[in-house]
């Protein structure tokens, strides 16, 4: 079974969906309820071995549909236009990171092809025909609107509110609450970041903090143990600044070496994540920017950790240490 999305032709332009072959269907195809479809690159690879399949026919349930477009690999994460119901998921929202649908069809063509097999999101009245969406007293369609100015947003809000009032008067709607969140508001409302992931992030920083304290302690011991050596350098004319710099360079080197070790561990960790049967497994890869950031953080943290020990080391008095040699 392949998931299908019934949508309008503007979907592809609005969300900037890249095409490998062909293109989206036209608005005319939409209104004439043409049996056409756009398929994902994954489905195209599976069915046609990645060849240009525009013009080929696809059997969907009991209908034949003509392929008009094949998408390039497109992997929005989360799959923002399908996000819903996250408030009821108890923080387990990793399913928002699935791949896009395999088949995209004009809105009404899709409704006809899959007639009788739809699940309503939630209903406020009795459903007359099971699996039928149109006219059902249910929430069954998500509407995405692109508004380019604040005035238009305000106007659209009024329009929606008026529409709800009108439909309530007509007896179709049970209540007239309307909300129009922006994309980001909608994602936040639906808790798109799974609560476990948030917890893991906090855990990571706590881990870093403990490691920092540990490193400060160990560097302190390491530098001060060499007090006599530092004393000799100071006696031979090295300035405090030079000692300080030497110690910081050492701390920074520890950070770099640790970062390289961390890089190997990251690769191992990512490999483990990809083996997990979770929706976002295929998204787990080494992001260069992210890795650069963590490496920089590792070096910066080591330097910060090295500050106090380096300061203490640079205060070593030359004469006192020489005496003990």
């Amino acid at each position: 079974m392949v998931p299908m999305l019934a949508t309008t032709s503007e979907f592809f332009a609005m969300f900037k969906v890249p095409f490998q072959y062909g293109s989206a269907w036209t608005a005319a195809d939409g209104s004439s309820r043409a049996r056409v479809a756009v398929i994902s690159s994954d489905l195209n690879d599976k069915l046609f071995g990645g060849a240009n399949s525009v013009g080929k026919t696809l059997r969907l349930k009991d209908s034949d549909v003509r392929i008009v477009g094949v998408m390039k690999r497109w992997r929005p994460s989360p799959l923002f236009y399908d996000v819903r119901g996250g408030r009821f998921a108890e923080g387990q929202t990793s399913s928002f990171y699935v791949k896009p649908e395999g088949v995209f069809m004009p809105f009404f063509s899709g409704l006809e092809v899959n007639e009788g097999n739809f699940w309503q999101f939630t209903c406020w009245g009795k459903v007359a025909t099971p699996g039928h969406l149109q006219d059902a007293p249910c929430v069954w369609v998500g509407l995405w609107v692109q508004l380019d100015s604040a005035t238009k947003v305000a106007d659209y809000r009024t329009f929606i509110a008026n529409y709800a009032q009108q439909q309530k008067l007509l007896g179709r709607f049970a209540n007239t609450d309307t909300r129009m969140p922006s994309l980001m508001q909608w994602l936040v409302f639906n808790h798109v970041v799974p609560s476990d992931v948030k917890l893991q992030t906090w855990l990571a920083f706590a881990f870093l903090a403990i490691c920092l304290f540990n490193m400060i302690g160990l560097l302190l011991a390491k530098f001060l143990r060499r007090s006599s050596e530092i004393g000799v350098r100071r006696a031979l004319g090295a300035s405090r600044g030079a000692i300080f710099a030497q110690c910081l360079v050492e701390a920074g080197m520890v950070g770099v070496v640790g970062g390289i070790g961390g890089w190997l561990l990251t690769l191992l960790g990512l490999w483990l994540v990809r083996r997990q049967p979770v929706e976002y497994a295929d998204l787990a890869h080494l992001d260069i920017g992210m890795f650069g950031l963590t490496l920089a953080l590792a070096v910066a943290a080591s330097l910060a950790a090295g500050l106090l020990p380096a300061l203490r080391a640079s205060r070593v008095a030359p004469a006192l240490q020489l005496k003990t040699l």
Binding site: T129, P130, A209, L308
Partner: protein, 412 residues
């Protein structure tokens, strides 16, 4: 041994002492909370479903080109497809019992209904997870009947999920019965399931709803005497003891042999409850494992920090130790000295850490659905941290105790 000289000596190492104290405090705060989270996850994973899980599997599939079920005639056709499947499964040699059942504990998707005590009640007394199935459902699942009776064959209805036909009788879980009738007299009472009257004819002692929710109503279940007709049809099957795998393989083969026009993929078509349980709690288990691993590493890091700094101190006080030895201190006295010193530092650390742990717990309670950190976790954490400190300090302390008294005679 007096504490005063230890404190006096530590004044020379303020930075190091502060670092160890902070590290122990932070480690205690994080590890005690993490272990509490792990134990909560484990108790969720281990809670019973109320069914006998061994040898139980679920068949979930959809018919290709099935009748719509819109009119009585096509509804009967849909039902016939399902009855045929149930008959085939029942005849398999490794199968003990078979039932039409839309639900299976932990399986994921559930139907929810509201139960009320009167017809015109505005808000239901309780929400409940619905199990739709036939007269064999309770016995096949293995939920224990504690009062009343099972459905009989004559009571089984069949319709689609969207039907408005009421179920005249239901079986409820003990938790739900107690919620509706706290005095224990639920059996035989008429209640309102989604505003339609129905009679409680049986009570099972425990039955988890069909998902792995952690919400309070997770044991509020209702069994309704309905074979759900639809494109999807789901069955529960109990294999004969120890014959689970052969029964599952035979079921797949027999169902496809009888009717090829169905979608029943390997991934979710036929699954044992063990596999379903495994999938349902995968995230919880992964999180518990990850946190456990992090706790271990954190404890290791902290122990390593203690070893490092104490070794340094031992090196610095080499000569003082020699003088103490020369003045008559025994090896064991030196060993005790460093252990006592560590106990003192770790003691301060765990006091700060216990406060931090509590603070972290309060913060987590505002962010996540967390319970209050029990005192036992805190006490265990404190004792564990003190023990780790004592173990970590042993190696450098032993090295200190081996410093010979003759060191005292060497030039400073």
């Amino acid at each position: 041994m007096t504490v005063h000289p230890i404190i006096a000596a530590l004044k020379w190492h303020k930075a190091g002492v502060l670092l160890i104290v902070l590290q122990i405090a932070l480690t205690l705060a994080i590890v005690s909370n993490a272990i509490f989270i792990i134990s909560q996850r484990i108790s969720v994973i281990q809670r019973p479903t109320g069914v006998v899980e061994r040898d139980l599997f679920r068949v979930s599939q959809s018919f290709v080109g099935a009748p719509s079920g819109d009119d009585p005639a096509s509804l009967d056709k849909l039902d016939a497809l399902q009855l045929a499947d149930l008959g085939i499964l029942r005849q398999l040699p490794d199968v003990q019992s078979v039932a039409a059942s839309d639900g299976m504990p932990l399986q994921g998707s559930i139907w929810v209904g509201g139960l009320a005590l009167t017809a015109d009640q505005k808000t239901p007394t309780s929400a409940a997870g619905l199990y739709y199935g036939d007269e064999h459902m309770r016995s096949t699942l293995g939920a224990r009947l504690v009062a009343g009776r099972d459905f009989n064959a004559g009571e089984i209805l069949h319709h689609t999920i969207n039907s408005t036909v009421p179920s005249p009788v239901i079986i409820v879980s003990q938790a739900l019965a107690d919620k509706l009738y706290p005095h224990g007299d639920a059996l035989g009472k008429t209640v309102y399931l989604d505003s339609k009257p129905t009679v409680i004819i049986g009570i099972v002692d425990r039955l988890q709803v069909a998902n792995a929710s952690t919400r309070p109503w997770v044991y509020m279940s209702v069994m309704a005497p309905v074979r759900l007709d639809g494109v999807n049809a789901n069955y529960v099957v109990r294999a004969k003891p120890g014959r689970l795998l052969p029964a599952m393989q035979a079921a797949r083969k027999a169902l496809f042999a009888a009717n090829r026009m169905r979608v029943m993929p390997d991934s979710w078509g036929i699954q044992s409850l063990t596999e379903i349980r495994d999938k349902a709690y995968r995230a919880d288990r992964g999180m518990a494992l990850l946190m456990g691993l992090i706790c271990l590493i954190l404890l290791g890091v902290t122990a390593a920090g203690i070893v490092g700094l104490t070794s340094f101190w031992v090196g610095q006080r080499h000569r003082q130790i020699g003088i103490r030895r020369a003045l008559g201190a025994r090896r064991i006295d030196i060993l005790h000295y460093f252990h006592a010193e560590n106990l003192l530092i770790a003691g301060v650390g765990v006091v700060v850490g216990a406060m931090l742990a509590r603070g972290l717990n309060v913060w987590l309670m505002t962010q996540y659905e967390m319970a209050r950190l029990p005192v036992t976790y805190m006490v265990t954490g404190v004792l564990a941290m003190l023990a780790i400190g004592q173990v970590a300090v042993f190696v450098p302390a032993r090295r200190a105790s081996l410093v010979p008294p003759v060191v005292a005679t060497r030039a400073a």
